[in-house]
Amino acid sequence: MDFVHQHLPALVVALPLVTGLVTAMVGRRGAGWWIAMGSSAAVFALCAQLLANVAGGGSQSVTYLLGNWPIPYGIGLVVDPLNAAVLATVALIGCVVTLYARRSMAQEVPEDRSHFFWALWQFCQVGLLGITITGDAFNFYVLLEISSLSTYTLIAMGKGRDRRALTAAINYLVIGSIGACFYLLGVAYLYMVTGSLNMADIHARLQDIFATWGTDAPVYRKTVIAGFAFIMVGLSLKLALFPLHLWLPNAYTYAPAAVTALLASTATKVGAYGFIRVIYTVVGPDFAWRYLHSDYILMICAMMAILGGSLMAIRQVNVKKLLAYSSIGQIGYIALGIASDNVYGLQAAIIHIFNHALTKGAMFMAVGCVLYRVGGVRLEHLRGLGRKMPLTMAAFTIGGLGLIGVPMTAGFVSKWYLVGGTLERGWMGAAGVVLVGSVLALVYTWRCIESIYFGKREEGAPEVREAPLSMLVPTLLLAVASLYFGMDSRLTSDISAQAAHFLLGVRP
């Protein structure tokens, strides 16, 4: 056990990497899921332990040296309140969705390719967990590519049901690669002026450079600004921040159901984490917000995301696409929280990363259950399912109420902190947009709810019944969790407050 404790941060990434390779090599039918399940459960246990260490521990940030190479020569893994929370979110969702994916995947992906599916499934999580835990800017890029490459393939595996999955995947591949290149280019610029790739080290060296900017002889001003801009645009593509969101709706719509659930609740969230990490711990808010005023750019993008995403969602008839557009709006909430630059706003961003993962995860999984039983996810397929699949639809409805931000759901807690943060910042307009966003969410959720509970199934439509237990239980688990964290937000509030105080460098 000592070994495990000592090497916790490395194991979080190494374990799924090894099991993923094993899965690909074993190649036997049926074994893939068992390995993936075991591995993701173990990873969740590790991440929960990391979070417990951080939440209870006195030290704020712990660095683990890979191969004992000293910083800045080797790669350091960093655990602090911020990424411990994100790691736990990613691992939790990974674990629950893996449980869910067995039946749904068996229906959507040909059996001779299932071991590849499970290997990629694990590599995707390796990438996401790695991005979150690494303290090295270049390593971040490598893991970003690992997660993206496996994601492209996972999305393309939806071709069995709908061949448009292929174009969606290639679309994402092109945009995702551009994003990754932008990020790498930005890191290269920063490397040029600081000579370091370690995030903390870059931060320390940038301070010396910033110090010259007030004087008559500013050094590297344009290089740093260009580097920062490239990184931000690259990450915005991964995050699908409006107006760089175009890859997202089709990718979510045509990917296999389980893949959509995994991506929606983890991939964009990790992108948001990257945003916070770069702004608050690499370049620092003094540069990004108070020198460049990029918080206003982010605020405007966020407001457009909330309004644009929600308005587009209202027009959709395919429920998966509807939820995808709603995700674009919800990403806007997270971005707005990041931009508001105060404890409440950052808390909102971190809480919403978690709460939205639960909410959207539950909804996409519920939609997956419908796909499994009914074979389609257009609004007309939902008609009358309130009686046929009551539990699945209950989970969907709870998720929908969470998107609106009805009190007693997790979404309300996020909204409370978010509006509180924007008001504290003095952004009345943004606070108004958030609230208008929840009304728009009501409109698109209500369209689904009307179909589900007040629509009638067509005469002669084949009989449907409740989704299989192995899919239903994980769906309900996330839905109930979103209710629980809506009624008792002590855990999420405390951890996010710790992270926000850590990021802003203020004592609680």
Binding site: V406, M408, V413, W416, G420, G432, V436, E450, S493
Partner: protein
């Protein structure tokens, strides 16, 4: 049993009742017994608190949920809340008797869902009544909205769905975009130390903040505006659209929710925030509430005018409700101790009168299948009890002695004269006086023709082929009870006035 437990049980018992009603869904007689017992027990619990409240005792309770850490869900029973809770729980008893008769007489479907939603609405009404801070009030206000949607859309046809959308749309848009913004704004003022708390206190939260300049009169006025229109249930124009739309619901719903629980929640909250959040003296000193006199007066007149031209009986009653609600708002806006008392008395008077009128309208529908005023010729001879009760209700609305409506109108006029005596702006008091006189004429104008048709016009030829008598006994019993109470409260006005005086005492 301690008072604290009683307060919590007053909300817990109805919720338990809902569970029981769902469980007994298959046995209608048992199910209805459960409704009756729940209604009686809930009223007994609320009434048992009355002596202590009248004696000036402080009764507090809390719910151990931390939706937002640091913002407790807490209850405090004070006279104003007591009035609303008493009215709501008392009238639930005759309404349940009536609903059983109506639903069975009409052979409505989904009766279990129908009866299961009522207690949730009652529990949230009690929660609103006893709320200790603005967050708790908002929370239960929202639950009340959601628990009543299935009742409004009960019929499930496209008409009902459209009304459901209007209902939810107006109520949720106003509460989320305006009320929640105001709540969060006040909370953020509290966090920044500008005001002392978010609990309801005598004299309001802003007394010292406005006088020291920590909160400018402009912000204070804007908050007041946001809050008043955020309480969409009070149906001040143009937030009234939901009320006529909700009339598609079965009559017991209209009678109880849209004459008592929901609309009274709106005006009760208006009075409560005027008295305990913004403070009568602070509002008077800053003059930020003068517009409300005109908004309320305008609503009274315009809604009465619209009511004149409605042929649908329930629609006419709906517009009459909108106009009568604004009497309560007018009382609050006049900002004198006696006008606050008048507002309280009118909450009671209107509840008893209007529920009688709705009961009568539903009774006519069940017995004669008539919905239009123009069809009512001579119906008083066939349904003497129903139309007799209707006449009593109508006269009480107009404010004729010997009915309780006279008591409330008289008190309101005393409030106006007191306003003049206190040196208020003469213009507003004069306007209020004109509104009261004109609206009395208008009330007579839209109610008396119905009474005239029913009793003094001969029945039309067609009717002679469709013989019918009174509606089922439970309905007649219920409407006679409430009509009797309107008479009783005139004969024994101390019951009402002492409550009003207690409110006045506690408020100013």
């Amino acid at each position: 049993m301690s008072h604290e437990t009683t307060v919590l049980l007053a909300m817990g018992v109805p919720l338990a009742g809902t569970a029981l009603i769902v469980a007994l869904g298959r046995w209608p007689n048992l199910r209805e017994t459960a409704t009756m017992i729940t209604a009686l027990v809930t009223f007994a619990l609320v009434a048992s608190l009355l002596p202590a409240v009248m004696a000036g005792q402080q009764i507090e309770a809390g719910l151990g949920l931390s939706i937002i850490p640091g913002v407790p869900i807490a209850f405090r029973v004070e006279p104003l809340g007591m009035v609303y809770a008493l009215v709501a729980t008392l009238l639930w008893i005759p309404n349940s008797v009536y609903a059983v008769g109506y639903m069975r007489g009409n052979q409505e479907h989904h009766q279990t869902r129908f009866f299961a939603c009522f207690p949730v609405a009652i529990a949230s009404a009690v929660g609103i009544a006893f709320s200790k801070n603005i967050f708790t009030m908002f929370l239960f206000y929202e639950i009340l909205t959601f628990s009543t949607v299935p009742l409004v859309t009960h019929k499930g046809n496209s008409d009902a769905m459209r009304s459901g959308r209007v209902y939810l749309g107006v109520l949720l848009t106003s509460s989320v975009c305006l009320q929640l913004l105001a709540v969060l704004w006040i909370y953020s003022l509290y966090r920044q130390g500008d005001i002392a708390g978010i609990d309801f206190v005598r004299g309001g939260l802003f007394e010292s903040a406005v006088s020291t300049g920590a909160v400018t009169p402009a912000v204070f006025g804007l908050l007041f505006f946001l809050y008043i229109y955020g309480l969409g249930k009070a149906a001040i124009m143009p937030m009234h659209k939901w009320l006529p739309a909700a009339m598609v619901a079965p009559t017991p719903v209209s009678a109880f929710l849209h004459a008592v629980a929901v609309v009274k929640a709106g005006v009760f909250c208006v009075v409560k925030i005027v008295v305990y959040v913004f403070g009568v003296d602070t509002l008077r000193a800053t003059g930020q509430s003068a517009w409300l006199v005109y908004a309320a007066g305008g609503t009274i007149l315009i809604a009465s005018l619209i009511a004149l031209f409605q042929d649908n009986l329930k629609k006419r009653l709906a517009y009459s409700t909108i106009s009568q609600l604004s009497y309560v708002v007018l009382g609050a806006a006049l900002l004198t101790p006696i006008s606050i008392m008048a507002a309280t008395v009118h909450i009671i008077a209107h509840a008893f009168g209007k529920i009688t009128l709705f009961f009568a309208a539903g009774s006519v529908y069940v017995a004669a299948h008539k919905t239009q005023v123009s069809q009512l010729d001579g119906i008083g001879r066939r349904m003497p009890w129903t139309m007799g009760a209707f006449t009593i209700g109508a006269l009480s609305m107009i404010g004729v002695p010997p009915l309780v409506g006279f008591v409330s109108k008289w008190t309101l006029l005393r409030g106006v004269t007191e306003g003049v005596a206190l040196g208020g702006s003469r213009i507003e008091e004069t306007f209020a006086l004109v509104v009261i006189v004109l609206s009395t004429l208008l009330n007579a104008g839209y109610f008396l023709p119905i009474v005239y048709r029913a009793f003094f016009r001969p029945p039309s030829r067609e009717d002679e082929h469709h013989p019918h008598g009174e509606s089922p006994a439970p309905m007649v019993f219920a409407l006679c009870t409430t009509a009797g109470l309107t008479v009783l409260f005139f004969v024994w006005p101390k019951a009402v006035l002492s409550l009003g005086a207690a409110v006045m005492e506690a408020a100013t």
